[in-house]
């Protein structure tokens, strides 16, 4: 009986009785969600513009963070290191276009997907060869102190992360919807051939989109890296981005954000309230079960592009 209660309505009663604690848990989840969103955003960008599911996005997060830390360790000031890392990510995008995308033009999506797996292994090895494989501490000077808002404790670092995440979404949304190059990116995503026929240079578009994805990866890398140290496991957060994408839809920037938030909050709340009843570790599988349910009932996700069918 006690077991049944803990599994079902017990936690709900608890939430009702201690709303402040619930708010804290939810907020904590929201801010973790922002981090998931940042990683998912990189996937969405590349998927939107080239139809390629970029398995290497997680490793790009790691690689950018490693580069940043590595440069800082060599005594480069923070701002210069940031600029240099952005340059590195742009160069990386150019190299990827030249040696990977260009020769594989017009191949099946699955072949491009496989090549991004290859890229994953390469970047992992390459990053570690250059910058070493030990865990590094990243501190770019974002303040981290607890802040009391109406009795709810929040970390200022998390607030910064949320603010930066929100800014990025707004900037990207404007970029995609309002600028000619953003329009061209969406055109390429819709129909490669037609985009080519009106003179949109695919190569330039690919470089742009991979560069932007690289910068998003850098932001995600800074946030995650500052929180948990820059280490190999950073690339594994890409796996958490997958359910976020399924939830939000592979082609939707707002979807990536909302999906990330839902999963962030969902898994934290589930862990704290229902965790004890099932022996914990809900956090590890919650996102995937949620994704599974979405695949069953709404495969295009919350905000994914509807598949247009004319009748």
């Amino acid at each position: 009986m006690e077991m049944l209660r803990a599994l079902t309505y017990g936690p709900l009663v608890e939430m009702w009785e201690y709303p402040i604690f619930l708010a804290e848990v939810a907020l904590n989840g929201l801010l973790t969600g922002v981090m998931y969103s940042l990683v998912a955003l990189g996937f969405v960008l590349i998927f939107k513009a080239s139809g390629v599911f970029n398995f290497a996005q997680g490793v790009m997060v790691l690689f950018s963070a490693l580069s940043l830390v590595g440069l800082m360790e060599h005594g480069v000031p923070v701002w210069a290191a940031l600029v240099l890392t952005v340059v590195i990510m742009v160069v990386l995008a150019m190299v990827i276009e030249r040696v990977m995308l260009r020769p594989l033009v017009n191949q099946d999506p699955i072949i491009l997907f496989m090549s991004t797996i290859g890229l994953t292994f390469f970047l992992e090895g390459f990053g570690e060869t250059i910058w070493g494989s030990n865990v590094k501490r990243l501190d770019v000077g974002i303040p981290d102190a607890p802040l009391d808002i109406g009795g709810v404790l929040v970390s200022t670092f998390d607030l910064w992360a949320a603010a930066i995440g929100a800014t990025m979404v707004v900037v990207l949304a404007i970029f995609f919807q309002k600028t000619p190059i953003g329009r061209a990116l969406r055109a390429v995503a819709d129909d490669h051939q037609a985009a080519l026929s009106v003179g949109i240079p695919l190569r330039t578009i690919w470089v742009v989109v991979w560069s932007v994805a690289g910068m998003v990866a850098l932001v995600a890398g800074i946030m995650w890296g500052s929180k948990s140290g820059v280490q190999f496991s950073l690339s594994l957060i890409a796996l958490k981005a997958l359910p976020v994408l399924i939830l939000g839809g592979f082609t939707s920037v707002p979807g990536a954000i909302i999906g990330g938030l839902i999963i962030g909050v969902g898994e934290k709340v589930a862990e704290v309230y229902w965790g004890p009843a099932v022996g914990g570790a809900i956090e590890n599988w919650f996102a995937y079960v949620l994704a599974l349910l979405f695949l069953l009932f709404r495969p295009q996700g919350l905000f994914g592009e509807r598949i247009i069918e004319r009748v």
Partner: protein, 272 residues
Amino acid sequence: MSADGNGALLSVNNIEVIYDHVILVLKGVSLQVEEGGVVALLGANGAGKTTTLKAISNLLRAERGDVTKGTITYRGERIDRMTPTELVGRGVIQVMEGRHCFEHLTVEENLLTGAYTRRDGRAAVQADLEKVYGYFPRLRERRGSQAGYTSGGEQQMTAIGRALMARPKLILLDEPSMGLAPQLVEEIFEIVKQLNEHEGVTFLLAEQNTTVALRYATYGYILETGRVVLDGAASVLAQNEDVKEFYLGMSAGGRKSFRDVKHYRRRKRWLA
């Protein structure tokens, strides 16, 4: 038509196209397009019409096809190694078969993508947008709707309008009549004619609908299995007995048994 191709706007000289390094699709096609003309490229499925157009616009490379022999010149300049972007910049643009609109973009956004290569400022683009809406009033009504949800005719108009936004000199129009009702086909060709007369756009169009194409074109080429088998002024072609019989569905002696149809394999004519 000058036989040597000098002075022609576009001149395709004896090209051969191979897909995937093995499949020979065009076996020495030559054709000339004079400035201000409407030239029709006729033939059945698989004759090589689309491949010829794609060889000119160089969309071929993206389909693993390659021009292995011959040359293509535009205003006297070799263009067979140029990228589509460079070609669009020079005023050569293709409207692909089957419309190929950007489904998730609105009609207006579709049109604007056509101006991607232009560097003459927002005002000029806006003026051209108005001009396109002038030719296709229906597009103005649908400007805000997603192209994927518009009708086939509207999509064809969008595709042509999009090409116009690049300020083209030569439009390679592939199968504009595909999947459209006869009335709409007529409407589309009427607009082609207007664009040709008022905007000075030269057209090279591939069509299966020989009747309509010959009515609007000034000159025609007939392709069969990768070769030009017949060419001539449109009015002459329309009177040709073979063309009448095989492409226009008319014959002198009423209905004929399929057995009596002579096999039609004229040797390729060398234009060069």
